[in-house]
Symmetry: C2
Subunit: 146 residues, 2 copies
DNA sequence: CAAATTTCAGTTCCACTGAGATGG
DNA sequence: CCCATCTCAGTGAAACTGAAATTT
């Protein structure tokens, strides 16, 4: 009756509830970890897309990272201000901005990536390596059904 | 390059990302389904706690359902306005309100519960029954580590 | 006095919408 | 004329914070 009451059993057993709890925990670990490097999830996602696909328009970055077009604008502003990326007009299509990751951006990306590897490890720490693989495989099947 | 660009492979493979995607899908299914009954997740959670634990104070409802005390107030307002619950002062502790589920509230709860059972089924539809059990068991282990 | 409960008002974060300007 | 892109301003939901009033 004080700090931690029981959850309703009906609730605590529903996959939707468990998924939400697990996702909230993952989000907390990720946010806290990236914060130690002065960054947020959006920064990592955009840097990952830039590293993997090379120079990109903001619209395609938004689609690839599932970040809203408005939020892409603000986050790229941020990355540019910190010297992690550059923004310039695309000469071939003047509607577009071309975003390019810089050398500093690349090394910042690698730093964030190392932090995230550690986050995955802490998140899955209750599972054995075999169980982790199984869990990820099942998750993928669910996500791909979308 | 048009509606659905590829996700960065580095991202698409991270458990934190997959969990977020799965949770977002679950949240969408749940929200849409409950909306067909004019309700939201908060309504279901509170009704489930009232059904399982009987008459309760708002504070304990908040702890049990992990809904913030402020949001409990507003949602109980809602349930009372629709005749699904009653609110009255607790004679034994005048600081407390006692919330009681009504007959109409109970049948509304059962209706929402049926909707949610169907949601779980759609969410897990890519998995076999055995895989579903395994998935839920792994999820529980991760959540319990919190 | 300290602690718990209810409530209101306000904040913060995230995701999104609308619309204007530019260009294909 | 229609569509894509970038940008800004603003909206709405969800989770939380602070403080006041009441009672234990």
């Amino acid at each position: 009756m004080t700090p931690a009451d029981d959850r309703p059993a009906r609730l605590a057993q529903m996959p939707t509830w468990l998924l939400n709890q697990a996702s909230a925990r993952a989000h907390r670990l990720l946010t806290d970890s990236l914060a130690t490097a002065g960054s947020r999830g959006y920064h990592y996602r955009l840097l990952a897309a830039l590293e993997e696909f090379g120079p990109s328009s903001q619209a395609s970055l938004g689609r690839r990272t599932e970040i809203d077009r408005s939020d892409v604008v603000a986050t790229i502003d941020d990355l540019v201000a910190r010297g992690y990326a550059t923004r310039s007009r695309d000469p071939d299509d003047l509607r577009r901005n071309v975003i390019v990751i810089t050398g500093r951006g690349l090394s910042h990306y690698h730093r964030l990536d190392r932090l995230l590897v550690a986050v995955q490890d802490r998140l899955l720490s209750p599972l054995t390596p075999t169980e982790r693989d199984a869990f990820v495989a099942l998750l993928k099947r669910i996500v791909d059904a979308d």
